[in-house]
Symmetry: C2
C-alpha cells in the first residue's frame, strides 16, 4: 500500500512543504509570506513549522531586519525527498493503483 | 487557495474514495474487500464509511448472503465530484500553484 507520510499529509504542513519545495534549492521563505499565503495565524504556522523542523524536513533561521526578528524557512534535502515520496504515494492512491494491485494478490 | 476537502483528505477516507471512484460507475465494493485492501479494522472502516455516508459521498447497502449480512459501498455522483475536486486541489498544491498565484497578488 502506498505510504502516506502523516507529518506531511496534514493540510497546513502539506501546503508549507509544497511552497518550500517548489522554490529553487535553498531558497528561504519568510514567515510572514508563508502566513499570508496559507492564511493561518502566527501560532498555527509556528506550531506546524516546528513540527516539520523536528522531523528534519525544514530548517528555520532567525535574523534581524531593522532590529525586528524575522524567521525564514527552507526545505532540507530530507524534506524534499519526503515530500516527493508523499506526492508519489498520493498519486498512486488517486489513480486507484491500490485496488489494481489488490486484484493481483 | 486550492480547497482541500477535510472529509476526504483523511488518509483512510481518501483511500476509500479512491477505491470507490476508480471502479466503474455504480460498482459496489464489499466491506471485507475494502477492509483487506486498506488494512484497517472493521470498526475503523465502519466509522469512516459512516462519515462518508453522512456527507452524501458514499451509499451503503446491506444484503444477506447465505444468511450472513454483507455491506456494500459505492460512490455517489456527489462523492465522485467531491473526490475529483479534492484531487484537483491536491494537484494544484503539489505543483506549487499557490505560491505562484501569491506572487501576482
Amino acid at each position: 500500500m502506498a505510504d502516506l507520510n502523516e507529518i506531511i499529509h496534514q493540510p497546513v504542513r502539506l501546503r508549507i512543504m509544497a511552497a518550500l519545495v517548489t522554490v529553487e534549492d535553498e531558497t528561504q521563505l519568510d514567515f510572514t509570506y508563508l502566513r499570508n499565503l496559507l492564511d493561518v495565524t502566527d501560532g498555527n504556522l509556528g506550531a506546524h513549522l516546528r513540527k516539520l523542523e523536528e522531523a528534519g524536513y525544514v530548517e528555520l533561521s532567525k535574523t534581524f531586519v531593522a532590529r525586528k526578528p524575522r524567521t525564514y524557512a527552507s526545505a532540507t534535502t530530507r524534506g524534499r525527498r519526503a515530500f516527493e515520496d508523499h506526492v508519489a504515494a498520493l498519486e498512486a492512491i488517486m489513480r486507484g493503483e491500490e485496488s489494481d494491485g489488490r486484484k493481483n494478490d
